[in-house]
């Protein structure tokens, strides 16, 4: 399978089961902000875990996709964590999370335009300078198309990922949710992403929500199993790219028996294997 790997997001509720079934997990992804304020012994424990399995630090609060300069203190904390834990790599989102002193509280899509691209590239230079390496950049799910955008999501993503030299962390469930919610074909959206730069993949689940006003939407909630169309997207991706992929399953609650999570990891392996066979046959 071309050194493809399948792993899981580390969560406190799952840690005992993860350690018990480490043989089924190739790589672990850890939310960086859960550890930036941890004690040195706790961070060293994470370092020990990184000796057992490759660990990837996943940031959720830097807000790099912004015309505001990324907070140097947050970047310093990420740098210190990287230095202590020595992860295989780290990642962040193509999102803004604050502006003008206002904390949004989660990942938001910025206006997708040239000024935003310029600000994001400057923030990535800043991250490289402080942390010492570039993060893999993850596409986000959004329930609203941001105003003042003159590029679509894929063109905007390509304009950042390509020039920055950063690898892409392609979240296939986020891609699926955006395609469903904004009337696009998920496979067409996949093909328009910078696939040659994809090194990592996220899988997760979601559900339909039916607001009082407006149409139903697919919500990326990380509380449900990975839907079949997302495994199909993984197969398509594996059939289209030559580089090895690291796939991470994200689950943030409503946990099933751990065996069901392991079964989803196996489904991901099988989907990639099918895709690789198609790639070889082509």
């Amino acid at each position: 399978m071309k050194n493809d790997r399948v792993g899981l997001g580390w969560r406190g509720e799952l840690c005992a089961s993860i350690l018990d079934r480490l043989d089924s997990i190739d790589v672990l992804e850890v939310i960086a902000e859960d550890w930036t304020h941890a004690s040195r012994p706790e961070q060293r424990a994470l370092r020990s875990l990184a000796n057992e399995r490759p660990v990837i630090l996943h940031g959720v609060s830097l807000g790099l996709a912004s015309s505001f300069a990324a907070d140097a203190r947050r970047l310093d904390r990420m740098a210190k964590l990287v230095e202590t834990v020595r992860p295989e790599s780290w990642s962040e989102h193509l999102a803004f999370v604050r502006a003008g002193g206002i904390e949004i509280g989660h990942l938001a899509a910025p206006p997708r335009n040239a000024a935003c691209i310029e600000g994001t590239l400057a923030n990535l230079d800043r991250a490289l300078s402080i942390v010492g390496s570039l993060p893999a950049l993850e596409n986000i799910a959004t329930l609203v198309e941001p105003g003042a955008s003159d590029l679509d999501e894929a063109a905007w993503t390509r304009a950042i990922v390509g020039p920055s030299g950063a690898p892409m962390l392609l979240d296939l469930h986020n891609l699926y949710a955006n395609a469903i919610n904004f009337g696009r074909d998920p496979h067409a959206l996949l093909m328009s992403m910078p696939l040659a730069n994809v090194q990592m993949v996220h899988l997760s689940g979601g559900r339909w929500i039916h607001p009082q006003r407006g149409r139903a939407r697919w919500l990326d909630d990380h509380l449900h199993d990975v839907p079949d169309p997302v495994f199909d997207l993984l197969e398509s991706l594996a059939s289209r790219v030559a580089q090895p992929l690291t796939v991470i399953l994200e689950r943030d609650g409503n946990y099933p028996a751990f065996g069901e999570i392991v079964a989803q990891l196996e489904r991901a392996r099988l989907a990639m294997a099918r895709g690789r066979r198609m790639e070889e046959a082509a």
Partner: protein, 70 residues
């Protein structure tokens, strides 16, 4: 008007209920009163108000959840 003003405008839309209500009632007028120029106000006014409300509710739940877990 700068890109930072646009991002700040979106952040206010997602976090300030009164600001959002005013925008949904009169998108272009609210954007102009918030200091955006006419072209940018028109661009912001093109946002789907139902989606804005839904996104804001989603962010509010995330903030509440984070507060509970602290």
């Amino acid at each position: 008007m700068s890109q930072q003003a646009l991002e700040t405008f979106l952040a206010r839309l997602y976090t300030e209920e009164a600001f959002r209500r005013a925008f949904i009632a009169d998108p272009h007028g609210a954007a102009r009163r918030a200091g955006l120029d006419d072209a940018q106000a028109l661009q912001m006014a093109s946002m789907d108000p139902d989606s804005v409300e839904l996104a804001a509710q989603s962010y509010a739940r995330k903030r509440e959840s984070r507060q509970r877990n602290r």
